[in-house]
C-alpha cells in the first residue's frame, strides 16, 4: 500500500489529469450534467484518498512564506542575520572545542591508550626516563605494548641552523596509533637503515608534494637518511603536535652520536605511552605498575623520589591529568554557557522581532480565519515560515561557524583540523540549536496570533511579552559584556604589566647536550667554554644557565602542604640568573657559586608570605614542614611570572644547579639588540659539531599571549554580538511602540504635551525590563560566575571595577543610541498627519 502511495506521488501530475478527464467524460455521459456537482471539489476529494494533501499544504505555506518575506525583506534579512550570528558562534565554537578538547584525536582505540608520567611524593614529571620504560615493559602484565616518543627540533637539509619540529619514536608507534601512509611506508621493527617519515603537511608545503621523495636520501640533523614514506593528513601524534619529521628511536645515536638518553636513568626523559591489555582498567593498571616501580626504585635509588608511582591518563581524555581535566571542563562549561547565552539573546531578539512581525500581519490572519482557515492551519503557517527562516539561518550559521573555526585553527597553528563535514554529534547539536531557535521564534508569535484571533476587533494587546523579551536580552548581553570586559582587562594586565623580570634582548639557547653524548663533566666543560667565549664577545652582555627557560613550554611545578592552592615553579638556576633576568633580591643574597641543593634556596616573596606569613625568613628551612630534604633559605626574590603568565596562583623557588643538571640545561643570554646571531656564532666557535636552537624570549612571550588574546578576542566578539543584538532589539521595540501609538502621540503633542512626557510614553516601558535584566545579569556574573572565572585556568578578576564600568557603559550607550532614533521620530510626529492615517 505504501508502494502504491509512493507510486501515485511520483506520477501524480499525470494521474490527476487522468482523473479530471475521466470525470469530464462521466459528466458528458450524464443526462443532466448539472447534477455532477463541482468537478474541482470532487477531484480534490477523490485525490485526498491518497494522503498527500499535507505536502501540498506545506508547499503552499512555504510559497506564502517566501512571498511574505519578499514583501518585508528587512525583517527576513534581520532575522537571518541574527540567526546566522547566534548559531554561527555556537557551531564554530562547538567545532573548535570538539576538535581541541573533546574529540579523542585521530588515534586508534584511544580508550585503551594511556600516557604514563613518573610521579613521586616530592617530584613529578610528565615524562619517564627511557631505561625505566624498558624496565616497565619487561616487568608487568597489564600493558600490551609500550610506545616511546621524544619530541625535539632537528635540522633539515644542509643548513644546520634550520630546525624543524621532529620526533623519535619507537618502531611500534605508528602501528599502535593506527597511522597510515599516503606514500611509501611507515617505520617498522628491525629497520636496518635509519629512515625518516614525513608529515603530510611537510611533504606538501616544503617538498611540493614530490612523489619521488620516497626512497631518496635526505640530510636529517646533518646525517644522511632515507625517506621511508609520508603520513596521511591529519596525523598529529598522541599529544597533538605539528611534528614534521618522524625518525626511529632505535637509531637515535646515529643522528645524535654518543647520546646517552637510552642508558641514563635521568634527568632526561621521554614521553611514554602504552596500550592496555584487554579488560584492564586504568586504575587497576596504575595499581599493578606500583610493584615494578618499587623494584626499579630499589635498584636505582638515585633516580627516584619518595614512594614513586606511574600516573596514567587516558587517551579518551586526550591524556589530560585530573587537574588539567578539571580546568578543561571549566573552560568548556563556561564557553558553552556563554554560547548558549548568545543563542538565548538571539532567540529572544528573534521572538520579539517575530511578535512585531506577526502583529503587523494580524489583518491577514483574520482574513484567512474569516475565509475558513482552521486555527491549526494559521499556526502551521507561522511555524512553517519560522522553519524556513531557521533552515536558512542554520545553513548560513553553519557556514560562518565553520569558516571562523577554520580561520582560528589556521591562525593559531592548532594541531587539529576543523572538518568541513559535520560529524554526527555536530549534526545533532546543530539540529538541537535549530530546534531551540525554532521554538523560541515560532511558538510565541503563533500563540499570539491565536489569541489575537479571539479579540475580534483586532486590537493589539499590551506588549508585556515584548518587555520580558527585552529583559532577557539585556540580561544575556549584560553577562556577555561583563565577561568580555574581564577577558579584555585580563589580557591588558597580562600583556602590559610587569612580568617581574626584563626579557628584552634575552635570547634562549637550547641544546640538549645529553643527546650529543655529553655527560655531566663534558657538559660542564662545554658551558664553561661557552661562557668564556661569550664574555669575550662584546655583543653578548651576560649569560646564565637554567634547567627551564622563562616563557618556555615546559617547567617543573610543586605543591606544598603549607600552601594549599599555590603552585610553585621550581627553577634550578646558576648564580648569574637573578642578575641577568633583573629579578631583584629583596632580602638576603642571591645564589652563589658553591651553594648546593641542600644548603641554599631562594624563594619568591609570595611564597615566603604564604608559607611563613612574612618575608623575614632568611635562614629558615624550606619547606616549612615536611619530612624530605630541606634547604636553607638564603634570599627572597621579587615575584616573577616565569611560566604561566595568566595564572595568579603561582610562586617561585630557585635552587642551585648540580652537575647532573648540566646536560639538560638551557643558556639564557642578554645580547645586543637584534644580535641573536652573535650567540650562534659563539656556539659555533666553541664546538662546531653542536648546533643549538636559539630564539628570542620575547617571541616565546608573544606565543604565550596567544591564548589570552584568543580568549579576549572571542569574548569581545561575543560581547559585540550581544551589543548588536540588543541594539536591534531595542530599536525594533521602540520603533514599533512609536508606530502603534502614532495617533496617541500626535494627539498629545497637539494638546501641548511636553517632550519629556512623550519620550516617557515611548521609552518608559523599557525602563523596568532594562533595569531588572541589567541587575540580574550583573548579579549572575558577580555572584554566580565569580568563582569559576577567578579560578584556574582563567584567573579573571570579576570585581575589576574598570571592566564592570566599561561593560555597563557600553551597554547603556548602545541602548540609548538604539532608542534615540525612533524616539526622536516620535517627537517629530505631526498631529494632523497622524490623525489622518487610516
Amino acid at each position: 500500500m505504501i508502494w502504491r502511495r509512493l507510486l501515485y506521488f511520483v506520477q501524480r501530475r499525470r494521474l490527476e489529469k487522468e482523473l479530471a478527464e475521466e470525470m469530464a467524460e462521466h459528466r458528458a455521459m450524464m443526462g443532466a450534467p448539472a447534477d455532477f456537482g463541482n468537478a474541482m471539489r470532487l477531484r480534490e476529494e477523490a485525490g485526498d484518498v491518497w494522503g498527500w494533501r499535507w505536502l501540498d499544504e506545506i508547499v503552499q505555506d512555504l510559497r506564502h512564506g517566501v512571498r511574505v518575506f519578499r514583501r518585508t525583506p528587512s525583517f527576513a534579512l534581520t532575522a537571518i542575520a541574527v540567526l546566522t550570528l547566534g548559531l554561527g558562534v555556537n557551531l564554530g565554537l562547538f567545532q573548535i572545542l570538539n576538535a581541541a578538547l573533546m574529540r579523542a584525536s585521530n588515534l586508534r582505540d584511544p580508550e585503551t591508550l594511556v600516557k604514563l608520567g613518573q610521579m613521586a611524593r616530592d617530584r613529578s614529571s610528565s615524562g619517564v626516563t627511557y631505561p625505566l620504560t624498558q624496565f616497565i615493559q619487561e616487568h608487568n602484565d597489564v600493558l600490551a605494548s609500550v610506545l616511546v616518543v621524544q619530541h625535539l627540533g632537528a635540522s633539515w637539509g644542509d643548513d644546520l641552523s634550520q630546525q624543524v619540529p621532529a620526533a623519535f619514536v619507537s618502531s611500534n608507534f605508528f602501528d599502535e596509533l593506527g597511522a597510515g601512509a599516503v606514500q611509501g611506508r611507515l617505520l617498522h621493527d628491525g629497520d636496518r637503515e635509519p629512515a625518516v617519515v614525513l608529515s603530510y603537511e611537510f611533504w606538501q608545503t616544503r617538498l611540493g608534494s614530490d612523489p619521488r621523495i620516497v626512497g631518496s636520501t635526505v640530510r636529517f640533523n646533518g646525517r644522511p637518511a632515507v625517506v621511508a614514506g609520508v603520513l596521511t593528513a591529519g596525523f598529529y601524534g598522541p599529544r597533538g603536535s605539528r611534528t614534521q619529521v618522524w625518525a626511529p628511536f632505535e637509531h637515535l645515536e646515529y643522528f645524535y652520536p654518543g647520546s646517552q638518553l637510552k642508558t641514563e636513568w635521568g634527568p632526561m626523559s621521554v614521553e611514554m605511552y602504552a596500550r592496555l591489555r584487554p579488560g584492564v582498567t586504568l586504575t587497576s593498571a596504575q595499581e599493578a605498575l606500583r610493584t615494578p616501580m618499587a623494584e626499579a626504585a630499589r635498584q636505582h635509588p638515585a633516580a627516584f623520589g619518595k614512594d614513586p608511582w606511574l600516573a596514567l591518563s587516558s587517551g579518551a581524555r586526550k591524556f589530560r591529568r585530573d587537574r588539567e581535566d578539571r580546568e578543561a571542563t571549566t573552560v568548556i562549561g563556561l564557553v558553552t554557557g556563554l554560547c548558549l547565552l548568545v543563542l538565548a539573546v538571539a532567540c529572544a531578539n528573534l521572538a520579539s522581532l517575530m511578535v512585531a512581525h506577526v502583529n503587523s500581519r494580524i489583518k491577514e490572519f483574520q482574513m484567512r480565519a474569516a475565509l475558513g482557515a482552521g486555527r491549526a492551519r494559521v499556526l502551521r503557517q507561522i511555524v512553517t515560515e519560522c522553519a524556513l527562516l531557521v533552515t536558512v539561518g542554520l545553513i548560513c550559521g553553519w557556514f560562518a561557524g565553520y569558516s571562523a573555526a577554520n580561520w582560528i585553527a589556521r591562525q593559531t597553528e592548532a594541531p587539529f583540523d576543523v572538518s568541513p563535514v559535520p560529524d554526527l554529534r555536530l549534526m545533532a547539536a546543530a539540529f538541537g540549536f535549530g530546534a531551540v531557535a525554532l521554538l523560541g521564534v515560532g511558538l510565541l508569535p503563533a500563540w499570539r496570533a491565536i489569541s489575537s484571533r479571539r479579540l475580534a476587533g483586532g486590537g493589539i494587546s499590551k506588549s508585556r511579552m515584548q518587555r520580558i523579551l527585552i529583559g532577557v536580552q539585556v540580561l544575556g548581553s549584560c553577562v556577555l559584556l561583563l565577561v568580555a570586559g574581564m577577558a579584555v582587562r585580563k589580557l591588558q594586565s597580562v600583556a602590559s604589566a610587569n612580568v617581574g623580570f626584563e626579557m628584552d634582548n634575552i635570547a634562549v639557547m637550547r641544546v640538549e647536550l645529553g643527546r650529543y653524548g655529553l655527560a655531566p663533566e663534558g657538559a660542564g666543560a662545554y658551558w664553561r667554554a661557552l661562557r668564556d667565549a661569550a664574555a669575550a664577545d662584546p655583543r653578548v652582555r651576560g649569560v646564565a644557565l637554567s634547567t627551564y627557560a622563562p616563557m618556555g613550554s615546559s617547567s617543573a611545578q610543586s605543591d606544598f602542604r603549607d600552601t594549599p592552592g599555590l603552585r610553585v615553579t621550581t627553577m634550578t638556576v646558576d648564580p648569574n640568573f637573578h642578575a641577568l633576568m633583573q629579578i631583584p633580591i629583596l632580602a638576603g643574597r642571591p645564589l652563589q657559586p658553591g651553594d648546593t641543593r641542600e644548603s641554599a634556596i631562594v624563594i619568591s616573596r609570595r611564597l615566603a608570605e604564604r608559607m611563613y606569613g612574612g618575608t623575614d625568613v632568611v635562614g629558615q628551612s624550606f619547606p616549612k614542614s615536611g619530612d624530605g630534604k630541606r634547604a636553607t633559605i638564603v634570599g627572597i626574590a621579587a615575584d616573577a611570572r616565569l611560566i604561566r603568565i595568566t595564572a595568579s596562583n603561582m610562586a617561585e623557588s630557585y635552587s642551585p644547579m648540580e652537575p647532573s643538571d648540566l646536560p639538560a640545561a638551557i643558556l639564557l643570554a642578554r645580547v645586543e639588540s637584534g644580535q641573536i646571531d652573535a650567540l650562534r656564532a659563539v656556539a659555533q666557535r666553541v664546538n662546531p659539531a653542536i648546533t643549538p636552537a636559539v630564539r628570542w624570549m620575547k617571541d616565546d612571550f608573544e606565543k604565550k599571549l596567544m591564548e589570552p588574546r584568543m580568549m579576549s578576542a572571542g569574548a569581545a566578539f561575543m560581547g559585540g554580538l550581544a551589543l548588536t543584538l540588543i541594539c536591534i532589539g531595542i530599536f525594533g521595540l521602540v520603533a514599533y511602540t512609536v508606530l502603534l501609538r502614532t495617533k496617541e502621540i500626535g494627539i498629545r503633542l497637539a494638546l501641548g504635551a511636553g517632550r519629556e512626557s512623550v519620550l516617557w510614553l515611548v521609552l518608559g516601558g523599557l525602563a523596568v525590563p532594562v533595569a531588572v535584566g541589567g541587575l540580574l545579569g550583573a548579579a549572575l556574573v558577580l555572584v554566580g560566575l565569580a568563582k569559576p572565572l577567578a579560578g584556574a585556568p582563567l584567573f579573571m578578576d570579576s570585581s575589576d571595577p574598570y571592566a564592570i564600568a566599561a561593560s555597563l557603559a557600553a551597554l547603556g550607550v548602545a541602548g540609548l543610541l538604539a532608542s534615540y532614533l525612533p524616539a526622536i521620530r516620535a517627537l517629530r510626529i505631526d498631529a494632523a498627519a497622524a490623525l489622518r492615517e487610516e
Binding site: 501515485y8 482523473l19 467524460e25 462521466h26 447534477d35 456537482g37 476529494e45 477523490a46 484518498v49
Partner: protein, 97 residues
Amino acid sequence: MMILQVLRHGPLHGYAVAQRIHTLSNEELRVEEGSLYPALQKLLLQGWVKAEWTVSESGRKVREYRLSAAGRKQLDTEVSEYERMSAAVRAVLKGAS
C-alpha cells in the same frame, strides 16, 4: 462492497458503475458522484481494483475498473460478513415482532 460486486461480472467505467448500481437496486439506490470517485480511488489505493483506459461502445475514451485477485477475496469476505450481520439483524427483528 457494492462497487466490487458490480465489477465481479466484468470491467466497467465510472459512469457505468453508477448506472449499474442504480438499475440493479431497482432505481432505489443512487450513487453520488461525490462519493463514487473517492471510493474508487480508495479501492485503487488498496489494490482491490485496477484501472485502464479503453474506448467504450459509444466511442468515448473511458477508464475501466477491473476487479483484482485481492479485490475478489476482499469482496468474498465482505459479502459473507454482510450476510452474517443482516441475518443477525433479521433474527432480532423477527424475534421482536
